[in-house]
Subunit: 229 residues, 2 copies
């Protein structure tokens, strides 16, 4: 009964999906499993740790390991750069900057990302195209206190999102997804009727605790985010 941690993982998962291990039931301890599979405890540990990370089982010291009562289901959605998303569909990407203004942060924005009221921000709106057709509208606010160098950039070659990734490759992000009705401006950009439902993603980005940028991405009508788990 020798095996790798993958074999053990697969075996335990099989027992769960086949009903031999039911939700809530206890799984044998690491020592016992190690004997059973003829491996070290470390190997069993890795198998169980990964199953726990995937939300299949729950582990607690002293009380041991059990199958989750209600499997923790989570879907992972890729957050692609719009250029790559468009190009992966085999379409030609382009974008246009619609507006660009340096303004004091409006109250709702300051509250949303934790910025001092009236702190200077750069407000940009862009439209991203796939084969010339409107694909995504970007409403972007950049904290100039954190990124003053944004003042000197025209975002014609590199869109704001891509420029920001180059500046701050790794950051903390809060994401919100909603369905919103297109207002007059969005409708004009997207070439749809006002009131058309659009899938909207808002992201607030921080770096080392400081607010960096806030963006509202409105996808074209009919846009669908997909994944599997």
């Amino acid at each position: 009964m020798t095996g790798t941690y993958r074999d053990i993982k697969a075996d335990i998962l099989r027992q769960i999906t086949r009903g031999a291990l039911t939700p809530g039931s206890q799984i044998a301890g690491e020592v016992e499993l190690a004997e059973h599979y003829g491996v070290t405890r470390v190997t069993v540990n890795r198998a169980l740790r990964e199953l726990a990370a995937e939300g299949i089982i729950e582990r607690r010291r002293k009380s041991g390991t059990r199958v989750r009562l209600s499997p923790l289901r989570q879907a992972r959605f890729d957050i692609p750069v719009v250029r790559h998303e468009v190009e992966e569909r085999g379409a030609a990407y382009s974008h246009a900057v619609l507006s660009r203004r340096e303004v004091p942060a409006p109250g709702w924005l300051a509250a949303q990302i934790g910025l001092a009221a009236n702190a200077p921000v750069l407000h940009l709106t862009c439209l991203h195209h796939a084969d010339g057709a409107p694909y995504q509208h970007e409403d972007r606010w950049i904290n100039l206190g954190q990124l003053p160098q944004a003042r000197g950039v025209d975002f014609a070659d590199l869109g704001p999102t891509e420029w920001l990734i180059a500046q701050i490759p790794f950051s903390e992000v809060e994401v919100g997804l909603t369905a919103e009705a297109a207002d007059a401006e969005l409708a004009a950009c997207m070439g749809c009727a006002p009131g058309t439902p659009l899938l909207q993603m808002e992201r607030a980005t921080r770096w080392e605790g400081q607010p960096v940028t806030f963006v509202r991405l409105s996808h074209h009508p009919g846009y669908r985010m997909t994944t599997r788990y």
Copy 2:
């Protein structure tokens, strides 16, 4: 310079966010890092393995480890059972079955989940409430070829989703998220005007390769899915 795998992870991540390690740059090999941190290679390995799993770095045998050029961004959204979601908001959960019919699978459904045309399915619609207010509309199709026992269940106590989880706790799921306009029926259920944008999630569930169920969940107006990464 002793430390745990967490310390090493944090240290490398810090070097990346601070720019000491830029996207695309090579990270020292495991042996060298082990010496540097004064730990075993296994410990370094775990730190790097987790960073790779999080999409921060890329690892390849022979060529080594490097910081990802374009950080792989992905957001994980919890897919909660609606009852738990409502109760976590401190509201009282209830649901009502609006309709229930055994029908041959319509063409679009058969195509969507890979079912034989006209295979018998159970079609249910439910409305889930939070403190009596409409929260989510469920449009559920259950493959009776796989789950004939669904015929004998009234879903008054346990909603279809929860019943299904009890039947098939672990399965493969395809998820799609869109923004849709409420039709007359949905608008009546939700108490909103027809055409109101609703965040809609579709899930197709398979078990051991066989289609089990398809569901379209329509959330109340203003619903927001959130996460952070």
